[in-house]
């Protein structure tokens, strides 16, 4: 198993009531598998993603990625773990507005402490088809291009797992499709595990397995 959770629980307190955003989730994901996590908005899929990426901490339960218990890691260990093993693609891209495409991608490499940064970053951008635009700032690129930069940033460290949160959510249909094709191609080619959060059923069907969440519980 590349990713395994047991009895994962995340509880928010809202006023006097407690909401279980993620309720007793047990997942087993194999290497190279593509998984779609679907559900309506507010179902808890984004919270689950936050937990799996270590960007938020669980109330209880365990997450095991590549044999490491990330729920037991310190913030610092989590950071370097993320840098080396995990790639994340956000719905809103979250590129640094003041950095060029190349610099945005390099940033991830530098944080991970990699060598040959310029080379690798250029290669990654080439892979996503942005070779010509590597010196542009995010504001000078289209939405689809921005998301491709973000994908390049996510894969540049050759992570074992790629998490994507509605990667086409902010894009028009055609662009969205192109971006998704790119994402599936890349994961397949590099034998990465893809965990995709989406509410688009058609998109979900392209994955090996679909996990539907309602009120924090896997159906």
């Amino acid at each position: 198993m590349i990713l395994k959770t047991s009895n994962l629980l995340k509880t928010f307190t809202q006023g006097s009531s407690q909401i279980h955003a993620v309720n007793n989730v047990n997942l087993n994901i194999k290497p190279g598998e593509t998984i779609a996590i679907t559900g309506k908005s507010g179902s808890g899929k984004t919270t689950l993603l936050s937990l799996l990426t270590g960007l938020d901490s669980a109330t209880s339960g365990e997450i095991d990625i590549l044999g490491c218990k990330i729920t037991k890691m310190s913030e610092k260990e989590l950071g370097s773990f993320r840098a080396d093993n995990i790639g994340i693609v956000f719905q809103q891209f979250h590129l640094m507005p003041h950095l060029t495409a190349l610099e945005n991608v390099s940033l991830a490499l530098e944080i991970a402490g990699a060598n040959n940064i310029a080379e690798k970053a250029t290669l990654a951008l080439e892979t996503v088809g942005l070779k010509e635009r590597i010196n542009h700032l995010p504001s000078e690129l289209s939405g689809g291009e921005n998301q491709r930069v973000a994908i390049a940033r996510a894969i540049v460290n050759n992570p074992k797992i790629l998490f994507a949160d509605e990667p086409s959510g902010n894009l028009d249909n055609v662009t969205g499709e192109t971006v998704m094709n790119l994402l599936f191609d890349l994961t397949k080619k590099n034998n990465m595990t893809l965990i995709l959060v989406t509410h688009d059923q058609q998109l979900a069907l392209r994955c090996d397995r679909q996990i539907n969440i309602i009120n924090g519980i896997i159906q």
Partner: protein, 852 residues
Amino acid sequence: MRLFKYFILQLFNNRNFTILFILNLSFGLCSFVTLDIFKSSINYSLKSRSKVLLGADFGLSARRPITDKEIESINEAETNNLRTTMVEIFSMVAGPSSKSKLVQIKAIDGSFPFYGEIKLKSNTNEIYNGSTKNLTIDRKVWIYPELLTLLDVKIGQKIKIGQSEFLVDAIVESDNAEGVSTTMAPRVYIGLPYVKDTELLKFGSVAWYTQLFKFPMLSNSQLDEFKDSIEKALTSPELKIYTHENVSEQSARILKYLNDFLGLVSIAALFLAAIGGAFLFRSYLFKQLKFFGVYLSLGMSLKKIIFNQTLQLLLLGSIGSILAILFGYLLTPFLDFFTKDILPFALQKSIEPKTLGLILLLGCIGSVLIGLPLITQLNNIKPSILFSSKSNNLLTKNAWYWVAFIPGLIFLWVLSVWQSNSWQTGTLFTFLFLGAGVIISVVAYLFLKLLNILPSSKTLSLNWAIRDLSRFPLASISIFLSIGLGMLLLNLIPQIKASINYELSMPKDSKLPSFFIFDIQEEQLDPLIKISKDFKVNLNQTSPMVRARLLTVNNKEFSKMKLKNKTATREEERQQQSRNRGYNLSYREDLGIGETIIEGRAFSGTYDESGSELPEISVEKRFSKRVGLKIGDILEFDIQGVNIKGKVINLRKVRWTTFQPNFFIQFQPGVLEQAPKTFLSSIPKLNPSIKQSFQDEVVKILPNVSIIDVSRLVERIKKIIDHMSFALQFMTIICLIAGFLVLFSIANYQARQRSSDIALLKSLGSPFKTIQSYFLWQFGLLTFFAGIFGVGLCFIMSYFMSKLLFDSNWILDIKTPALSITLLILVSMAITSIATSQFLRIKPTKLLDNQS
């Protein structure tokens, strides 16, 4: 460190923001530099005036020659010095017609004075600077003009001083030099080498021997330290050791006011710069929070983020402060050029090293400390927020957030103590200021709550403005706080200036004395009144004076009462001595010129001898402190063998700038009338043409009466006070300008940060007018109320500062606050409309993109 380049790139690619930020920061700091340039110039110039009063930096005096050993210890302590010797004696001097008069003989050597000059008038009424060397090579004198008639002498004739004759060389038109001896007789300058010819200095003579020094290398504060060290080294009780600042009590008081005031001005400037800096840095850091989330999601460790961010802040701060210093240097020649004709002093061309250090400290360390509360909260950042587009509020605060403010406050406190050179001033200021900050924040919070429950108005833009203010409480409170505190600071200086000006204000010339007349016997009062009527002048504040010895305080023998603190400095030894002394009592029904009761009640009228109450006594405030008297104390006096008791019912404050005779202890009328007494009185400024004949007439008819010409002293002090008032006024204006610069940078920054709101409203199709007035309302409301509260708190703070630091009455100056609030609103409106109209011209998509 490799990653730092991304933080630098962040600054580079965000050029507009970075430049705006650095410029605003350096504007704030630059106002600090400017203030400091003026502050040190004024300080320097008034201190020079005070040096002119003494003619030197430092002096040693005694009623015996200063010993070589004593001079040697000065030389040892400061090798680089110039020295001049002076002897002052009183003697009867005879004119050619053997008319004689008591004069003060001031024997000087050729190097006197080091500062200022003695202006002389020749036979032909020509006025020139006297060279004191001439007196040392010839048996010549310079005399005060009144001696022309008193001794019946002319220039070119001889007068007899002791056993020797001297040629009258010139009339003294003006001189500044105050000496240690009193001014009870007109002055005659002679050369030091000729003193021995007079044979006046021998066994049984009383004279003041003085050594004056100039220390070219010592600054004013070093001079004070020097004095302290000399006081420790030379312990002879006969020795008076003084700097130019404390040779005259009046100038010492003025300079104390000056020091304290300028200290306050510098703290105010410091705090202003800090507020501006704090506002800018905090807004900037808040903007950065989102990026921290991205860094975290990419796996950068928190420690690295904090380290790099701190480094980036340091860089911004350093650039800002270096620019401020550069601006300061560039500005000085301009300031000098524009102020040359209006300022009575030359502008210092250099910035004090201390100021440079302070600015760098403020810009660099200050910026990091300001960021500290936010940095402590980075632990709390939930990068998972990046997944959702819901909220911008990345930050939840815990107790550490508030704790992290403490280092910044301590930093500010230490800086303000350093800057004002006074533990007391710095501390009081910091604490009052903190209190004000807390109050303003609470008020701002309540103000926003109130806005929320206000019924909605018909004006759309006002509605939006009110809604947005209360929906972004944190941002609103931080602007409210910055503007409120800014207004507090920039109005504080004018308020305190008003109080000091009141303290220093002198009555009109007609009320200023030119003569003190004392030892007037009771039966001589009527003849004196008659003379003054003949000369059409009014006697001022004629007061009876009864000599008495204070026997007991609350039935305890006064002379045996211990002073509170035991460290017997020279000053305190003198105080102990004064416990054994008799006191001059007076009585008066009302308060005299320049007197106010600051504690207790007024006299109940004439004493009722048949009643059971004790007579009422009023005591001067400083005296009460010195001797340890308070309201309700029962004092028993021995007046020439008769014992009289009385009860202290009030403490009086006397404004010394009236220069009127005053008494430490005053009884109510009806108690001392029968006791043996003399009277003293003062004569207001006289027309020079009748001055001498009036004096002659008084001496002729009332031969025993002593009449002292104080007009020269009053004139000298008046000049310094005028200069000081100007300095106060000027510093106040500069402080106002500096304050506005800071407020300007806050408003400007704030307005420019709202470009996305403008774009959004524009894209929603609202008319430009509505957008503009929405912003105007928003900032107008905020600045108006923040300004009002700032000013209100300023009144309270200045009240405490006036009372506690300056021991002065609090005077309300309403003009400056009214003007500053008006200006504040105008300025903020202007900036807002300029900024909004600029953004309105740009396409909204561009603005929205910029924000991503």
